[in-house]
């Protein structure tokens, strides 16, 4: 299978979260993911994009979000970036139930980590945050990388 990608940029408006889920689910469907895996990917992307909107650009400050999807060698890579507030303590941020917002559950990063095969969080306070996530279809695992 050929390498494929979608690079998407959009403003941090809540109504764009559902569209980012639609895009990632349609793109990921080019691999042999189960419906359950596609659902997990949708949740992970929803959390990542929501975090950009709530935490990266707080108080409805409008900024740009970049969503980069790649399929290479049967593996889906997702990169979500904002150019906003950033995170000072990455380990603290990843702690289950930790949130800087009392109204929120602190489960976004936990969901991303448990629903994707890999999740890497990078951030520089004042510059922005970058989440890299990777997932390979369960059905393709153990059969070597490329199925074509």
């Amino acid at each position: 299978m050929k390498t494929n990608y979608f690079q998407v940029k959009f403003p941090s408006l809540p109504e764009n979260i559902s569209l980012s889920r639609v895009i990632v689910a349609s793109f990921a469907a080019q691999l042999d993911f189960t419906l359950n895996e596609l659902e997990e990917i949708r949740v992970a992307v929803s959390e990542a994009v929501s975090n950009c909107i709530i935490h990266g650009y707080p108080e409805n400050r409008e900024g740009e979000i970049s969503l980069e999807l790649t399929i290479d060698n049967g593996i889906l890579d997702i990169v979500v970036v904002d150019y906003g507030r950033g995170i000072a303590d990455l380990d603290l941020a990843k702690t289950p139930a930790y949130s800087t917002d009392p109204e929120r559950m602190g489960l976004g990063l936990v969901f991303m980590e448990s629903f994707m095969d890999e999740m890497i969080l990078e951030s520089e306070p004042g510059k922005g945050t970058r989440v890299v996530m990777r997932k390979k279809p369960e059905r393709g695992k153990g059969h070597g990388g490329n199925r074509e």
Partner: protein, 112 residues
């Protein structure tokens, strides 16, 4: 997302359709809170989740918030017709420990 509210005695039944995320949760919250504020006789909350096609931690947080409101009145939160993908996230988030799950609205009304 659409929200339908109906009353059965002291129980408020809320039917939710569509996606429950950061963009739609405020509507979910406001519709229910407005109704709770309007009518002190409401005691329990039943959420019919059959047609919820998506939920994430923002949506789960909105459900938890309603649990808090209804607990303050000494009432219970019941989820009915919960799709499998939602139940999984309810379990992961700990919501299953605080809310009651029933198969149907009728079961919920009989249980409460």
């Amino acid at each position: 997302m659409t929200i339908d509210l109906t009353r059965a005695g002291c129980i408020l039944v809320v039917k939710v359709q569509g996606e429950l995320d950061l963009s739609t949760s405020p509507v979910f919250r406001d519709k229910i809170e407005t109704e709770l504020a309007r009518d002190e006789n409401i005691r329990h909350l039943v959420l019919d989740l059959k047609d919820v096609s998506f939920i994430d931690s923002s949506g789960l947080g909105a459900v938890l918030g309603r649990f808090k409101s209804i607990s303050q009145r000494g009432g219970k939160l019941v989820g009915v017709e919960v799709p499998l993908h939602l139940e999984k996230l309810f379990a992961l988030s700990g919501l299953l420990k605080i809310m009651i799950i029933c198969p149907t609205v009728e079961d919920a009304l009989n249980t409460l």
